[in-house]
Amino acid sequence: MAEMTYRDAVAHGIAQEMDRDPTVVLIGEDVGAAGGVFKATVGLFDRFGPDRVVDTPISEQAILGASMGAAMTGLRPIAEVMFSDFFAVCWDLVANEIAKTRYMTNGQVSLPLVIRSANGGGARFGAQHSQSVENWAMAVPGLKVVAPSTPRDVVGLLAAAVRDPDPVLFFEQKSLYPTKGDVPEGELVDELGVAAVRRHGGHATVVALAAMVPRALEAADHLAEEGVEVTVIDLRSLVPLDVTTVATSVRQTGHLVTVEENPRLCGWGAEVASIVAEECLFDLDGPIVRVTTPHVPLPAADALEDAAMPSVARIVEGVRRSLC
């Protein structure tokens, strides 16, 4: 058991997979000699050399295209898109090519490929470097979508993603990079699509993802002080989606609150809410409440950004609303 940061867990997890499988390569802007702009790939260049840890020009389409072509023909690339906002400059590769090619070719082509990206707000970087776009990915059939909330999960889910035969978008929440947690020694591999129940409580089910998980847990502490006990589910993966764990909990609590960092419309919470409203409607004892960033771009100033993103207070208030 070693304590490490979420940031270091990324490099640790990549190293575990590159050590194991010589076909795993890492590609992206400044991922090599510089160790990544978030310092999440430090040491890999020295350890695995420039043939396996490859710096690129500012050409996100070329990065993902190269990764896709390589995945089609025997490599298992891990590509980095530096900020998830930049998926917009290479969305054609992600949504139209990588997601659809196995299907269109009736299974002729396999794309074992991971695309990592720094996602989310909290760093005062403004509207073009702070988005939570996991719902962009979730909306496209053919993509698996993962977003760990702890250093341990970074390693376990990254290993699962690299070993998965399908394309996986791996969202690293940038506000979590400095956070610390225990990571077990030895090889660590998780399964995609298994949520984690981070806290048990009978009054309501709170479903969160990535940076919203610690915040939901903090809200749960506050609520416990007033006698409200909530279950907090960390989804960990949006595709596959662990409907079983969510539905089981909602059947017990009768109340559902989702906590999403993304702006309101068509977030993953809407999907979860719609599933529950179809499959567990008669188990519900109160409205399904979604706590999200309002449907606005993120502002840059610290005071404004803090006011925009779901706060502990807003989560607490959301749970209260769901209970009435």
């Binding site: 390569v25 043939d51 690129t56 020009p57 050409s59 996100e60 389409q61 070329a62 993902l64 295209g65 190269a66 990764s67 896709m68 072509g69 390589a70 995945a71 089609m72 023909t73 025997g74 490599l75 690339p77 054609d92 590769l93 139209n96 090519e97 090619t101 196995r102 299907y103 269109m104 070719t105 009736n106 299974g107 002729q108 082509v109 396999s110 074992p112 059939p141 053919g142 035969p165 399908d166 699509g193 298994v194 595709v239 596959p240 989606l241 662990d242 409907v243 079983t244 599933i275």
Partner: protein, 352 residues
């Protein structure tokens, strides 16, 4: 031959090969040239029939024909070894045939039948045959140039010596992905040949009206430190020679090659488009340069007997007839395919 020189001594495009093969080296062995002729005839027959079937409503959706552009597909395919990779566009029937895919499976794919190359899931614009290293036809302009880089990168990392050949149109040279792909290929010295089939039209718009240079690909080669290479795309000897030189250069690790093949589509852009927006004289002049009769005459000159060519032509007709019959006999795909093969486990489940 279209020489592939270092950039240092290149002034303008290397135009030696353009204009009917003057200045070409001794042509390829006769059996190779005959094989090229066979490919071209089969492409022509296959696509002509596909067009008829489209007009009869048996080919649904859309189709983009390469009628008139056969010498590019055949010349390059003949210069490739079986393990080399092809990437093509929605105008990819010829390139798929050229790598050896089954006519029946292709025709059935165009018709949306169970026997289709992708069981009907891809359609005309997405023909793919991985066993033939035909790595796909791509319907959104630009992306596949970057994907071709990936196959070439993989070949380089895995040290297989394979070369990737990536075809695209003149209109494609104006999209961002073209630029990113060419730069990366050059910086990484990838074994990839980019082949621009310049048929002068981007759908209904003349390429010259939307492009800042006269030769959309060749005039951009220097921007990637590459030699400009132009070839007469309606001259099968010339495309074969250029292809061989380009592929050879890639195979030796000298980095990518960008070829501009000047050609013309005989028909419209897609579907039932009659192509009326094109000036009559332009169409007439290019029909007169039809690569098939031109190459046929050249083969006769080279001593091939008429009967050999006739046998090829007859065989092609028979093969296409059989393919159409078999495709028509194939039932529609099983509806369970709708939810199959999103994932490698064969399914499409997104929940647990």
């Amino acid at each position: 031959m279209t020489e592939l020189r270092d950039r240092s001594d290149a002034g303008g495009p290397t135009t030696g090969a353009v204009g009917g093969g003057a200045g070409l080296p001794a042509p390829a062995p006769l059996e190779v040239r005959i094989a090229v002729y066979k490919m071209m005839v089969e492409m022509r027959d296959f696509e002509s029939r596909a067009y008829d079937l489209f007009m009869q409503g048996l080919v649904k959706g859309t189709s983009h024909l390469g009628l008139g552009q056969e010498a590019v597909a055949a010349g390059f395919a003949a210069a490739m070894r079986p393990s080399d990779y092809t990437f093509a566009t929605y105008r990819g029937h010829n390139h798929t045939l050229a790598r050896g895919a089954s006519m029946t499976a292709m025709m059935a794919e165009l018709m949306g039948r169970r026997a289709g190359l992708m069981a009907g899931k891809g359609g005309s614009m997405h023909l793919t045959s991985v066993p033939h290293r035909m790595m796909g036809s791509y319907a959104i302009v630009g992306a596949h140039l970057t994907i071709a880089n990936g196959a070439a990168w993989s070949s380089k990392v895995r040290r297989t010596g394979d070369v990737t050949v990536c075809f695209f149109g003149d209109g494609t040279t104006n999209i961002g992905a073209f630029h990113e792909a060419l730069n990366l290929a050059a910086v990484w010295k990838l074994p990839v040949v980019f082949v621009c089939e310049n048929n002068r039209w981007m759908e209904y718009t003349p390429i010259s009206s939307v492009t800042a240079v006269a030769r959309p690909a060749a005039d951009r080669a220097p921007a990637y430190g590459l030699d400009p290479v132009l070839v007469d795309g309606n001259d099968a000897d010339a495309t074969l020679a250029t292809a061989s030189a380009a592929i050879q250069r890639c195979r030796t690790g000298a980095g990518p090659v960008l070829v501009e093949a000047e050609t013309y589509r005989h028909g419209g852009h897609s579907r039932a488009d009659p192509g009326k927006y094109r000036p009559d004289e332009e169409v007439k002049a290019w029909l007169a340069r039809d690569p098939i009769p031109r190459f046929r005459a050249r083969l006769l000159e080279s001593g091939v007997e008429e009967v050999v060519l006739q046998r090829i032509e007859e065989g092609s007709r028979v093969a296409v007839d059989a393919a159409v019959r078999e495709a028509e006999a194939s039932p529609p795909p099983d509806l369970s395919l709708v939810e199959s093969d999103v994932w490698a486990d064969g399914g499409s489940s997104w929940r647990r």
